[in-house]
Structure formats: C-alpha cells, structure tokens
C-alpha cells in the first residue's frame, strides 16, 4: 500500500494537482491485485485429487470410482453399514514442514467406516498437524488427503460430511454455547433444532446460554464434541477427546465413540494414551516423529510388537540359566531373583527344570500390554531415525505430559 501511495505521490508531485489521475492509478492497481487473486483461486480450485494425487492411469481410475461411491455415500449418509473397504479419510504421502522441523513425513493411511481408528503417537508426533491438514486448515507441503474422495475445500457442506473436535478451547469465550453452535450450523444450513439436539446429546442444555469463557475444560470438551456432531456427519475426528474429562465423562466418550462407529460412521481418534486406545479402538494408525510406524488392527499390533517373555523365579538361578541357555533360550536376568526367558515355551522350561532337578518358584508368561507394544514400536523408530535415547518418553512424550 505504501508503495502504491508513494508512486502515486510521485506522479502527483510531477503533474501538480491531478487527483483523478492518481485515483485511477490506485484503482488500476487494485484491479490487478484482484485479477491475480482470482487467477490464483481458480488454479487452486482446479487441483482436484486426480490431477495431483495419482500418477498412473490405473490409480486415476481407482480414484474416480472412489469419488462416485463417495457421492452415493453422501446421499445415503452412513446407512451403508460396514461400507466394505472404502476409506473415508485417505492420506497419501502427506508431508508438512514447519521451518526446519518435519512435522509430518510422507504419511499415508486410511480410515474405514464402521470402525474406531485410533491415531496413536507421542506428543509432538504430528497427530494434530495431520488432523488440521485433513480439515483443510493447514496446507500440506506435499501429498494429498481426501475425505469421502474429495479434498476438504471441495466438500459442499463440510460439516455434514466431517465433524471434528480439534481444540476444545478454540471458542470465543464471550459467546454462548448455543450461539457458537448456531453460528456454525447456519453456514451449512443445518436446522436450528439440531443445535438443541446436540446440546442435549452432550449434556449441556442447562448451560446453553452461558458464556463459554465460564466453562470448565470438560464442558468445553463436550461443546467441542457437540460441534463435531452438529452436521450428523459420517466421518468424525476427535483430537484427544478425553482430555480434561472426569471419570464419568471419559466413560461417556468411550461409549459415544463406540456407538458412532456402530452406526457405520468412520471415527478417527487421536491419543497419546495407549490405554485409552486399548479400550476404544479397532484399528490403529501409529506414528512417531511424523512417520507412519504401523497401520493395522489393534490385536495384530499388540501381537506383532509384543515382547512376550516367560518369567521364572528359582533359588537356583545360575544353574537354571545355563540349562535354559543350553536349550537355546535367550535369557536375561530380571530383578529380584528372576529370569526373563524368550524362545522357549512355558512347558519346555518346566520340563528342563524338572529334568535338571531345579526348583521353580514361579513360571509365568508375561504378555505385553498395548502400551509396551507401543513403546516397543516407537523405540525401533527412534533408533532408526538416529535418536540417541531409547526411551521415547524422555525425548518427546515427556515434554508435554
């Protein structure tokens, strides 16, 4: 603006009082800027998924089919129970960089309808960034992400297709809960009755007229969930939904997630708490340092990454150890007179002890919890990426408890 003013000034100074000429100049500049803006927006709009996403004709065809069924899905909403293998959220080679830091690195995954898909990773792993890119709030530096086959800004009524709770506190504190919901409903032509419906659903009817600034974190969280449910969408995303909720609230959220998935919706929930995922998720997308570590059903993930071992205790540890190692087991000394044995079955260990005349005080299989499996998988990832510490908590998770 200053440059425009100064160039106009120069002309004005040269020719004396030619006000009109200067105004014409300024209007021309405005017109040029407007034209550039318009062309840019046209170009942006034209970048449909099949123009950017898929290099091969075969994949191109697949995407088109994807779009067609997405269209049907929109009309029928989530009546298509189960929905087969259709991904509702599809991320392909998503990459996002903030300055020097690679927040999301070549991340590809899918979220299927009818399941709760857990999005697991330590704090700072890139979960929220990924969710913001799904919602079209952050533009990926590379790769694409589609919802029902289309990029977010191509959705006609986005709130009716995707509902998201990203940050519970991201609401104007001076506005009432009802006003906040109604202001959003209005943009997607969602009837006013639906506002009261979702308020009732999350249990905020009695405080609907209260200013949001007075809400506790738990109440804000519920309001955020109400926002997500507002358009009755087939795809739902929740970023750490149980944060700030009390025990009742947590149980309520778990039930809600399960119910939404059982209605055939795709539910995508992020958490850094493995225990939470164990209770709610069917599938897992695990990331660490912005990279995909695993994408599989939760049982498979636990089994694959479980570091199951057999714990034995005996008053005669040294003898037992040599006997076990003689039979080909990997033995590590545990604390308080115990050994951790891998590579031999419980029965075989018992037999070996018996034949060698060693008394056993304990013989127990220790199966890994999901939490341990998660730590196990991220440790591998951190080692691979050159991290010096073996404990992911101390490098990433510990920063923000």
């Amino acid at each position: 603006m200053l440059r425009v003013a100064s160039s106009a000034l120069a002309i004005g100074a040269k020719h004396g009082r030619h006000g009109l000429r200067i105004v014409v100049l300024v209007v021309l500049v405005a017109a040029v800027v407007g034209l550039i803006l318009w062309v840019r927006m046209r170009r942006r709009d034209r970048q449909s998924p099949h123009a950017t996403g898929s290099p091969t004709p075969k994949a191109d065809h697949a995407v088109r089919r994807d779009e067609r069924s997405a269209a049907i899905a929109v009309n029928r909403r989530w009546d298509w129970n189960g929905g087969g293998n259709q991904n509702t959220i599809e991320a392909r080679a998503l990459t996002k960089r903030y300055g020097n830091k690679l927040a999301v690195d070549d991340l590809s995954f899918g979220v299927k309808p009818g399941y709760v898909t857990g999005f697991l990773g330590p704090n700072g792993a890139g979960k929220s960034t990924t969710m913001r890119m799904i919602m079209g709030l952050d533009e990926p530096d590379a790769g694409t992400v589609t919802v029902n086959g289309r990029r977010y800004h191509e959705l006609g009524w986005p709130l009716r297709e995707v509902g998201a709770l990203l940050e519970a506190r991201a609401i104007h504190p001076g506005r009432s809960a009802r006003a906040h919901l109604w202001m959003l409903a209005r943009t997607n032509q969602i009837p006013r009755a639906r506002v009261d419906e979702v308020l009732d659903l999350v249990g905020l009817s009695s405080v609907a007229e209260q200013r949001v600034g007075q809400f506790s974190l738990g109440m804000s969280q519920r309001l955020g969930i109400a926002v997500a449910l507002l358009g009755d969408p087939g795809v739902l995303m929740f970023d750490e939904p149980v944060n700030g909720l009390d025990t009742d609230g947590i149980r309520w959220v778990r039930g809600l997630l399960r119910r939404l998935a059982s209605e055939g919706r795709a539910v995508f929930v992020s958490s850094h708490l493995m225990s939470e995922m164990a209770l709610t998720a069917d599938h897992l997308v695990v990331i660490g340092k912005g990279r995909l570590i695993a994408e599989m059903p939760i049982d498979e993930f636990t089994a694959k990454n479980s570091n199951a071992y057999i714990q034995v205790r005996s008053p005669n540890l040294a003898q037992l150890r040599s006997a076990l190692e003689g039979a080909g087991a990997t033995v590590t000394a545990g604390d308080d007179e115990s050994l951790s044995v891998r590579g031999l079955s419980q029965e075989r260990i018992g037999e070996l002890a018996w034949t060698n005349g060693i008394m056993l005080h304990e013989l127990a299989t220790q199966s890994a919890s999901l939490e341990e499996a998660f730590v196990e998988s991220t440790v591998g990832n951190l080692e691979f990426s050159g991290g010096t510490s073996l404990k992911p908590e101390s490098t990433e998770g510990g920063a923000q408890p």
């Binding site: 603006m1 425009v4 003013a5 106009a8 000034l9 004005g12 100074a13 006000g19 105004v23 300024v26 209007v27 500049v29 405005a30 800027v33 407007g34 550039i36 803006l37 927006m41 709009d45 034209r46 779009e67 269209a71 049907i72 929109v74 009309n75 913001r132 919602m135 079209g136 709030l137 952050d138 533009e139 289309r150 977010y152 800004h153 191509e154 959705l155 006609g156 009524w157 709130l159 995707v162 998201a164 990203l166 940050e167 506190r169 991201a170 609401i171 104007h172 504190p173 001076g174 506005r175 006003a179 906040h180 109604w182 202001m183 959003l184 209005r186 943009t187 997607n188 032509q189 926002v227």
Partner: protein, 276 residues
C-alpha cells in the same frame, strides 16, 4: 453437491450458491451480534462521535465573538459538528479489527474455516455484514452529530441546514468515511491477525503518520498530507469545497475506498495462503 468437483469449480454459477452465501452471511451476523465487544464499540462510536461534536460546537458558539475575522470567515459549521467522527473512527476501526483478529486469538477461525473452507467467502461475508452495520450506525451518528451541533450553534454562531450547498453531501460522507475506515481496519486485521498489532498499526496510520508528515519539509507535507486518511476525512466532511483542498471530496473518498480495497485484497490472498 454430491457431484463432486465439476460443480464446485463453477460454484459462482451454481444456483444453490446464493443460498449458501446467505448462510455464511447469517453466520457472520450471529457472530457479530453475540459478543459484547460489538455493543461496546458501537456505543463508543456514538458517544464519541456525537459527544465530541457537541463539545467542539459549544466551544465555537461560546467564543464566537472573540474569534479572528479569518477564523470567522473560514468557519464551517458542518465540519465542526462532525469533528467527533474523526475520533469515533477509532472505535469503528477496533470493531473492524476485532471481528477478524478475535477469531484468530480465540481459535474460532478454525471452526469457521472448517465450516466454510472457501476462505474468501468468510472475508466477503464479514465485509458485507460489518459494512452494513457500520454504514447504518455511521450515518445515524453523523446525522445526529450534525443536528445536535447545529442546534448548539444556532443563534450564537453561523449554523447550517441540510439544504445548504454541500451540507447533505458532507453529512452523508461522515457515515461513508466511517464505513471505509472500518473496512480498512478489517483488511489490516486480515493481514496482521494479532489484535494488539493490528490496532497499533491502525492508530499509527490515523494519528502517527500525520505527525511524521508534519515534521517533514513543508513541500512534502502537503503532498503526503492529502493521502492521509485523517485529512481525507476532513475534506469529506467539509461542506465548503475550497479550491485549496488537495482533492475533491469524492476523489478523497475514492482514494480511501482504494486503501480499504487493497488492504482487503491483500488480506484475502494471505487468508487463503496461510495456514489457519
């Protein structure tokens, strides 16, 4: 809208598009009317605009006899009664800034852009809703300030009526001036996004820039001065258009509108390009 991308790229020709934009407009109206800052800033606009005008005119009225002949000859009763608007512009500007920057500071912008992913529409809806509200309030304040001021002046000093040459134009310009400045503030806020920084630059533009222009060599001062919003406002709200004024009132208004348009366009481009 289930036919995906094809219909979306031609969104402007889509018959549904009208109703869709009306939804965004409605949403912005709800936003504007459900926070307290709107009431406070508009109230401040009215109080400052009318109140300061009353103070200025009563001062003129009581000292009329003692004023110099030159001062008496150049006295413009319309301009005096509208003097408060040059300060009321601050309140309008703050509202214009807040309707954009408060979305960023509270994080509401993410909900807004999730609901309306085509971001220029949000800005356009804000321009329309805020523009209409500011224009209505601005015109009311301008007319009330004028009528109050003339009532105070009448009998003690020269006063004006709306049918006098240039007076109606000047009074209408009072509201238009507030509208253009409000939109300029909205554009600034779309560029700067932080409430405090946007308000500071707005104040700097209105009140600090004239001071800087003033200390420059006098040949510069008049050249730069004519481009400054505050001087434009004075020209717009004067009933008498002196040949000595740099630009005519409508030329000045056009310049001010161009400022606002440029700020809004740059803000719109940045809105699309930057992550929310």
């Amino acid at each position: 809208m289930s036919t995906a991308t094809a219909s979306d790229t031609q969104a402007t020709s889509d018959p549904k598009d009208h109703s869709r934009f009306s939804g965004v407009l409605g949403s912005e109206w709800i936003k504007l009317t459900t926070v307290r800052s709107t009431v406070w800033t508009l109230l401040a606009t009215a109080v400052v605009g009318i109140g300061l005008g009353a103070i200025v005119t009563s001062a003129q009225a009581s000292r009329w006899a003692t004023r110099s002949l030159v001062a008496q000859a150049t006295f413009d009763p319309t301009r005096s009664s509208l003097a408060g608007l040059l300060f009321a512009q601050l309140a309008v500007g703050v509202l214009g800034i807040l309707i954009m920057s408060a979305e960023y500071s509270t994080g509401t912008i993410r909900a807004t852009f999730s609901a309306v992913p085509r971001r220029p529409r949000v800005l356009l809806a804000k321009v329309v809703v805020f523009g209409v509200v500011t224009l209505v309030v601005g015109e009311i304040v301008s007319f009330v300030a004028f009528l109050t001021g003339q009532r105070i002046l009448s009998g003690k000093a020269p006063s004006a009526v709306l049918s006098d040459p240039g007076v109606l134009r000047a009074v209408v310009s009072g509201g238009l001036y507030l509208l253009a400045l409000g939109l300029l503030a909205l554009g600034l806020a779309s560029i700067i996004r932080l409430t405090a920084a946007a308000i500071s630059s707005f104040v700097g533009l209105l009140f600090i820039l004239p001071i800087i222009a003033d200390v420059l060599p006098s040949s510069f001062t008049s050249d730069i001065g004519r481009f400054l919003p505050a001087n434009i406002g004075t020209v717009m709200m004067s009933a008498h258009y002196h040949g000595t004024d740099p630009f005519g009132p409508w030329t000045s208004f056009g310049l001010l509108c161009a400022y606002a348009a440029i700020a809004l366009l740059v803000g719109g481009v940045l809105l699309v390009r930057r992550d929310a």
